[in-house]
Amino acid sequence: MLRTSRLALSAGGRELVRRLDLSLAPGECWSLLGRNGAGKTSLILALAGLRAPQSGAVALDGVPLPAIGRRELARRIAVLLQDEDSDFWGSVLDYVMLGRFPRSKSAWSRDGEGAALARRWLAELDLADRETQAYRTLSGGERQRARIAQVLVQDADILLLDEPLQHLDLRHQAQVMGTLSACAAGGKTVLAALHEPGHAARHCGFSVLLYDAGRASLGRSSDMLTQANLEALYQCRLEAAGAWSFLPS
């Protein structure tokens, strides 16, 4: 159980999150929605223990994050960052295997279990034939899927993903959302920052809506993702797009 208590976050003098009490339980899949700059990334970084909050705390099974060692934390929580300044020279498989770092025993022991897991996730994300290709030569969307595979081989109980669907085509958006909700159904905790309420409604049972000026509301997606809420969230009028709105079945 990952729980925040009275969490406050700000960036550049702007208040992003004020007194947020959020509990992410095993088996739950959460979407995190909000306008650009609403604080989705800051919240994910705080939940992962990568940024200290202004005030309040984040605790994993009752233990505050700063009291947990980096390596132990990395075995429990895996994070997909929004961007990565990567100069990685190796193959796609090498890249994905970096996700095994927190679980590796020594530099020399062969991680057979990890390699099998990496191949399984690469296959699931349509990258099986790219295993030996240089990571640098992948397209933007393929890179994004390799990054997601790296998060999955970490084999953590809690998955925090900052815009997992960026750069992905329709097929792979649905594939990634399907994989994430399957992880949650298997007992993991998933929270993903998304820009598509349609995916959130279909795959995530719960949603956090981050409004401006630190306001947030959270609950079941069926209650949260109403037209009125989304219009208030994105500050624009919305209408059902009819024949032009497609989601892969």
Binding site: L45, A48, L50, R70, R71, E72, L73, A74, R75, I77, A78, V79, L81, E84, D85, S86, D87, F88, W89, G90, D94, L98, G99, F101, P102, S104, A107, W108, Q154
Partner: protein, 319 residues
């Protein structure tokens, strides 16, 4: 085994053998063999064991230290142009050494003064770059570059006011010269310590390439890793500079040669860089000693003359 690994593994004994076999005195193969086995003429034994072997090892240690430092700094600063001189440590050591030469100090005092100069530069870089939240690579880079150019100005001034009898010695020091190297034991010790420390962190260094946040998220204690690696790079640079002056190019080019040949995991990159840097410098120093014998060229000139075309050739081939 990859071809590049095999090549480096063969190159190490080959370069050391060549460095012992060739010099300003021509020795027949039989004389060499006898001397290596501790037999034969005493003068030949002294040339082989007392002069050439320590010099070969000094060249190897110096090159290995520079290549190791360059490899570490290129990861830490996320900058492919990083080389040992970028920390300002070489510049500080050069200014210290030249000041001692200007004052007419003995060789030992020149080394102490170089060590002091290098330490001042390293201390300044550490003081300006290590904040509460860990290391700031941009500050390391800026502090190092600023210090290096400051020391460069001091070095230029000392060259300008030095009596002409001293200028040649100073220039040799600045170009990188292994002839006053002497006993390589301390440098070999520094090499062993630095290699072991850096190697123990090779998996974490692989992860650091993904950026500091991602490395933290994967369980790397980033600030500790950076301190350790910067410390290693500094120690390696100081040890190399004390041995051979400011020898350029080895620290910059060797890691790139290996990366361009497909080596990218630090568990392989670090030891291969040390071996390749060491062998290349031992070879370059052999050339520097023999090409215009009995005169010696500064080896730093040869490393640049060999390194530049090799890197350009590799870049052209991989376009």
């Amino acid at each position: 085994m990859r071809p590049v690994t095999l090549a480096v593994v063969v190159l190490v004994p080959a370069s050391l053998a060549l460095a012992v076999a060739f010099g300003s005195v021509d020795l027949a193969p039989s004389q060499l063999g006898d001397a290596l086995l501790g037999r034969g003429d005493e003068i030949v034994r002294e040339i082989v064991w007392g002069v050439r072997a320590p010099r070969a090892l000094a060249g190897f240690a110096c090159g290995a230290l520079l290549a190791l430092a360059g490899t570490l700094l290129q990861v830490l600063l996320r900058n492919p142009l990083a080389d040992p001189a970028i920390l300002g440590v070489s510049g500080g050591a050069a200014a210290g050494a030249l000041a001692a030469m200007l004052a007419g100090a003995a060789a030992a005092a020149v080394n102490v003064s170089a060590l002091a100069g290098g330490s001042v530069a390293a201390g300044a870089v550490f003081a300006f770059s290590l904040g509460r939240s860990g290391w700031n690579p941009y500050r390391v880079l800026l502090t190092g570059v600023a210090l290096a150019s400051g020391f460069g100005a001091l070095v230029g001034l000392m060259l300008a006011i030095a009596p002409s009898s001293q200028v040649q010695g100073m220039l040799f020091w600045l170009l990188g010269d292994l002839s006053p190297a002497g006993d390589p034991t301390a440098a070999l010790l520094a090499l062993a310590v630095c290699s072991a420390l850096a190697f123990s962190q090779s998996a974490a260094l692989d992860v650091l390439i993904l950026g500091e946040d991602k490395a933290r998220a994967l369980g790397v204690a980033v600030a500790r890793l950076q301190s350790l690696a910067f410390g290693c790079a500094t120690l390696a640079t100081v040890a190399a500079v004390l041995l051979g002056g400011t020898i350029g190019f080895v620290g910059l080019v060797v890691p790139h040669l290996l990366r361009l040949s497909g080596v990218h995991r630090h568990a392989a990159l670090l030891p291969l860089a040390a071996c390749l840097g060491g062998s290349l410098l031992a070879l370059a120093d052999t050339l520097a000693r023999t090409i215009a014998a009995p005169a010696e060229l500064p080896v730093g000139v040869l490393t640049a003359m060999i390194g530049v075309p090799v890197l350009l050739l590799l870049l052209a081939r991989l376009r």
